[in-house]
Symmetry: C2
Subunit: 119 residues, 2 copies
DNA sequence: ATCTATCAGCCGGTTTTCCGGATAGTAACA
DNA sequence: TGTTACTATCCGGAAAACCGGCTGATAGAT
């Protein structure tokens, strides 16, 4: 018997745990996305055009990065009038980033000069 | 007067802080590298071929990833005979990774389905 | 000395990811 | 309803990163 296909699930393909964690790290592995998150942590809440101005990035870029950050649970939103405000609510995001900063102190030079895998 | 060029410095170009932190995140943003680090955290100390066997990855890949991890300060080494043993000594690495795992719990589905920037 | 186990480096190809620029959608407001 | 903010999406092109396969180097064993 051939039935109709099953309802599409968000996580139809179970990714291995390491791939998930790696993906999480990659989300913060882009300087622009990271700057957005850190800016929101500092400022508390901003709407998109304000982020665009402060980071001097294109609106399209910021919009796409925000979509990604929201999707992954780093940023949450609130709409007011014709503006959408973005903020970081999850405290685990802050602790993750400060963890990174702690590791970075003393390793800046090494990481700055690391050529990654291939030269 | 035209002198000889200055001695090459490791960090001749000062990278902005955000780019450094992003690069740090990207280092753990590859599943294979992450698995190497987590394996070493669990097992304490392993030589390269042992890592190759346990991860079922090619020796060349593991070697290059290890080079990167050593370079960035995640992993340190000890040579004994013709073997080199690798381990994670910096406790900040552990706390960084467990920070990530804490954030991941409750966000797996979201991160698994996130399409990043472009579709 | 020769062979073997272990580790490192290079190269070509493919995939992923980022960006600029243009375009389309949406909600408030006159 | 038309205009004006504001936000979202699409489309090449370019750069970064990963991988497989091969080669080279070194230290111990035979």
């Amino acid at each position: 018997m051939v039935g109709r296909p099953a309802i599409v699930e968000l996580t139809s393909v179970a990714l291995p745990d390491a791939e998930l964690v790696a993906r999480l790290f990659r989300t913060l592995g882009d300087a622009t996305r990271l700057r957005v998150v850190e800016l929101l942590i500092e400022q508390g809440e901003l709407h998109q055009m304000e982020i665009v101005r402060r980071l001097d990035a294109s609106q399209a870029r910021v919009s796409e990065h925000l979509t990604c950050l929201i999707w992954c649970g780093f940023v949450s939103t609130r709409t007011e009038g014709r503006r959408t405000f973005y903020r970081v609510t999850d405290k685990r995001v802050r602790s993750l980033i400060s963890s990174a900063h702690r590791f970075l102190s003393g390793n800046q030079a090494a990481i700055a000069s690391c050529r990654k895998v291939d030269g």
